[in-house]
Symmetry: C2
Subunit: 257 residues, 2 copies
DNA sequence: CGAGGTGTTGAACTTGGTCAAAAGTCGTGG
DNA sequence: CCACGACTTTTGACCAAGTTCAACACCTCG
């Protein structure tokens, strides 16, 4: 049970009761290995399972009539994938692996047990979904109204802020295992302009690149430039049905458990 | 109780048990009148209440460092406003009235009662949040990768599809009580180009305009042009904790009750 | 009738897209 | 260990879509 992906993930946010932990652990039967680039689920397929990412990066995307691709989400180790599709019978997005990855699937139908037996977990799932929503809304704001450099800046900040959920000690350097084309598809730029924007950031002394590792040399300046909000650092658990399994610590929990 | 906004709204999706209906009705104490353009809540303010829109249109927006405005959501009569902010202590977006409006506020803190006592309602709230998420992700896709005409087309389709939730008989004509500048801020265009795109749509014979009423003359062509998905028409309730208050009809409910 | 907000149209300008070629990187097999 | 080929990144030149600015028309509501 200690090595259940789900328990580990949600335990970051709430102190789970033994009951809840066991209930979650039972959802996972096994893990699955994915080679890089492989398609895990196509848009339009029936939604039967959700996934927790154990290793590697995944991305969710769709195509437009004109053939271009839009990447809607990137998922990192520890992420819960597929919450959006819970509301629909068929997946709204395709899901694929950026790099080699391991995922732990669990059946969508198991969600009802969580909603019935654990109000606190339900509230947590709800909140996690809403965090995703806020992140998307931030990205929309930047994409609609800012230039290439700002978009790339925002993207990089978002990546570190997500990586810090599970690795608070990451510092300012991290590896970015994706091509510039994929990055461009996430923020609505061509690969060419992603390259130019990254060069520009380097020129300004804001980032340093080596192989596919990035270091943010002036995170403050970057945050100021795009008015960045970290949506992951802290969520409001004060209204959660507390009697049941919320940690009895501060009314609002830091995510960096 | 019959005139509770919340009961009316959620009753569209689920057959509410008398208990649930009463619980919801108790949340609302009164309604509030808003003049056009008035600010209901500023970004950064503590989140204490959610709202159900009874009359008029609202919008949620934020500003960028460069001063431009991004409209993230438009809310219509029957909409539940503020779900996103439930996860945070402070509002991520400002909320204002497009036209004169009436809203029914209810306290965020009351949500815990729903999560504790009604798994079905919890699952419904969760799903409504995820629908919003899918809508945003659709808009992102269009904005990142399509031209002005496609963006406006998509926006208009999204508006009718939302209006049809509560007014299935709306046909293809509806009034659009917003300025072209506001519309542009929603889809990342200048007021000038919104005007040009609307003219272009008219030229093509896809829409007709009179005053601020719009008629879609060729909805099929419009849908095909942007590969439109209606996220509101149907949600998957088959996994809902059914024993409690889900309608015992089809496993998946049409939203057009 | 006048004023302010809203919508339309034209012209110059800017940003990012596209195409193409060159340079770098990585993994594989000899 | 090196060489090859495929993929990725970079750079340059040209092009297209949308922005900005400005003038004007149009309503609507005093």
């Amino acid at each position: 049970m200690a090595n259940s992906c789900l328990v580990e993930k949600l335990g970051h946010y709430l102190r789970l009761s033994p009951n809840d932990a066991e209930r979650l652990a039972r959802l996972e039967h096994e893990s699955e290995e994915l080679p890089a680039q492989s398609l895990l689920r196509a848009a339009g397929a029936p939604v039967r399972r959700l996934y927790v990412v154990k290793r590697g990066w995944l991305y969710e995307y769709s195509h437009l009539p004109n053939g271009s691709r839009q990447v809607a989400h990137i998922h990192y180790p520890g992420d819960l994938v597929g919450l959006t599709d819970v509301a629909f019978e068929r997946a709204t997005l395709s899901l694929a692996a950026v790099s080699d990855a391991t995922v732990c699937p669990f059946p969508k139908s198991a969600l009802d047990q969580i909603f019935i037996h654990s109000p606190a977990l339900s509230a947590l799932l709800f909140s996690l979904g809403m965090v995703e929503h806020a992140v998307l809304s931030d990205r929309l704001r930047i994409m609609a109204r800012s230039g290439a450099v700002e978009r790339v800046t925002h993207f990089l900040l978002e990546v570190v802020s997500r990586l810090r959920i599970t690795h608070p000690d990451i510092g300012e350097g991290f590896s970015l295992p994706m091509t510039q084309e994929l990055l461009g598809d996430a923020i609505g730029l061509s690969n060419v302009y992603v390259s130019r924007a990254l060069s520009e950031l380097q020129q300004r002394g804001w980032i340093e690149r080596r192989a596919r590792r990035i270091r943010l040399l002036n995170e403050d300046a970057m945050r100021a430039a795009v008015d960045f909000n970290d949506r992951h650092f802290r969520i409001d658990t004060s209204w959660f049905p507390g009697a049941l399994s919320v940690s009895e610590g501060a009314p609002s929990l830091s995510l960096r458990a």
